[in-house]
């Protein structure tokens, strides 16, 4: 997958995880952290589960990785270079 495809898919997963509260276009294009878009902790855990099972990765939930988990672009970079 190219980085754009990864970003697009992540944005769709955000929309699914938030039951549509954050539409995919907004997640992709807003340019602000997901928490600022209103991603709740329930949705965030759903998103992490979905990303891990779809991309076959295990995401570290340490304090250092928090910024990445809150930023779609950074998460896409991480998945592209894994």
């Amino acid at each position: 997958m190219t980085r754009d495809e990864i970003t697009q898919r992540l944005a769709e997963l955000v929309a699914e995880a938030s039951d549509g509260d954050i539409p995919a276009e907004r997640a992709r294009d807003a340019g602000v952290p997901l928490s600022v878009l209103g991603l709740t902790s329930l949705s965030r855990m759903r998103l992490i589960d979905a990303v891990e099972s779809e991309f076959g990765v295990e995401l570290d939930l340490g304090e250092r990785d928090w910024t990445m988990l809150d930023d779609l672009g950074a998460l896409a970079d991480h998945l592209e270079h894994r």
Binding site: P33, S35, T40, S41, R46, L61, G62, E63
Partner: protein, 419 residues
């Protein structure tokens, strides 16, 4: 009266992780284990007769396997197993009493986990119609969110008739099988890694002087009802782009640190574990304790909330774990827990300091519960319209300090909100 019911299947199997966890808590709290009983009152929609109501009730029990599941307790003291019955007969109380009083009454005695159905029901009647259904759940059969699913389904069954029953979500037997399989073990190992990184620590480990201990019983609950605390929590959550639940958990951890003087606050939040598709709609006991760790908990709340995001995620991940791994691994047990029982959390919302200050005089504190035994020393509950209670063992935290804790929680959040 007796209501017969029938489901699709029966069977036996090991307990799920959630059932195992609550069973451990029940055993440690017995004979005061009625502490874990809880219930809901459903106002019956429209005008429904006794026959219509009992038909809906029977359909509810037929749909949700958890409500037809009891325990087999081996005589040698080994692990219990769950036993799902295909059908049975539920005793139902008919009454004209106040529904809330009936709820309290039905909650007040412990369940017979082997022989009694895990659901007690009273129907409040007014002439030929049923006005309220009072449901009391054994905690092995449901947690708060599971009970809410059952109540919503019962309401739909009453509105649309027995045929409206939705296809059942996964059953506790299915979930136990998944948990024991390769995917479940993978999830359990991931959770175990979070727990194993936390060193042993008991938060309240100093006996208080004899003179400070409460008269028997030794466990008391202080309950703070504070609209100001509610407004402040929402304001702080809005500023930090987080939930009021995370704000309250973080503030609790900070104050536990202040009370105990330890470098690290370890609190076990009860996590609903309904992040997954298969558990989202289950009527079952899925909630479990996770582990929430804040280092340097003497920092300002602002700083702590910045660290709380990832600490909460790790807590969520740790919560869906196998209690047998926990027992074998001798994981940290701080005897300090946090349980946000609100079904719908009021979201973050900016509030003016003036608004928050104006609400302060409405704060009240009461002592609604006391008993001899509990499996924990320090339990914060959040419920209703932002009521925060602290249930504690007075041998480790005397009543005046419990009261102080709750008022400090209010002050901390009100100050953080700038009021």
């Amino acid at each position: 009266m007796i209501v017969p019911f029938a489901g699709r299947s029966g069977g036996t199997g090991p307990l799920t992780w959630g059932q195992l966890a609550i069973w451990d808590a029940i055993e440690r709290t017995a004979p005061d284990d009625h502490y874990f009983n809880f219930g809901r009152v459903l106002k019956v929609p429209g005008v429904r007769s006794l026959d219509e109501t009992t038909a809906a009730l029977a359909a509810l029990l037929g749909t949700h396997d958890s409500l037809r599941t009891r325990l087999d307790l081996p005589a040698d003291g080994g692990l219990p197993r769950q036993r799902l019955e295909e059908g049975g007969k539920l005793p139902v109380l008919l009454s004209t009493d106040d529904p809330e009083e009936l709820l309290t009454r039905l909650c007040s005695t412990r369940f017979d986990y082997e022989d009694e159905w895990p659901l007690r029901v009273a129907l409040v009647t007014d002439g030929p119609r049923v006005t309220h259904v009072v449901l009391v759940f054994c905690h092995l059969a449901a947690d708060g969110l599971g009970a809410d699913v059952a109540v919503r389904d019962l309401r739909m069954l009453l509105l649309r008739g027995a045929a409206a029953g939705r296809p059942a979500a996964a059953s506790p037997l299915d979930l136990a099988r998944w948990q024991a399989g390769p995917e479940g073990r993978r999830v359990a190992r991931r959770a175990a890694a979070v727990w194993e990184a936390v060193p042993h620590q008991v938060m309240f480990d100093r006996d208080v002087p004899e003179a400070d201990r409460a008269d028997r019983p030794r466990v008391w609950r202080a309950q703070l009802s504070s609209p100001a605390l509610g407004l402040a929590a929402r304001a702080v959550a809005a500023r930090h782009h987080t939930s009021t639940s995370t704000v309250l958990l973080t503030a609790t951890a900070a104050l536990v640190n202040r009370c105990t003087g330890k470098d690290r606050s370890v609190v076990l939040p009860i996590v609903h574990n309904r992040f997954r598709q298969d558990t989202a709609r289950m009527v079952s006991m899925v909630s479990q304790e996770g582990v929430f760790v804040l280092d340097g908990a003497d920092r300002g709340l602002d700083d702590l909330l910045a660290a709380a995001g990832s600490a909460s995620l790790r807590a969520y991940r740790s919560a869906f774990h196998d209690p047998l791994d926990r027992a074998r691994g001798d994981w940290v047990q701080p005897l300090c827990c946090f349980n946000d029982q609100r079904f719908a959390e009021p979201g973050p919302a900016p509030r003016t300091p003036r608004e928050i200050r104006a609400a302060l005089p409405a704060t009240t504190l009461s002592w609604p519960l006391s008993q001899d035994r509990l499996n924990c020393r320090f339990c914060v509950h959040v419920g209703g319209d932002l009521e925060v209670s602290l249930t504690a063992d007075t041998h480790f935290l005397p009543r005046r300090r419990m009261e102080r804790f709750l008022l400090d929680l209010e002050s901390l959040l009100v100050a953080e909100a700038g009021a």
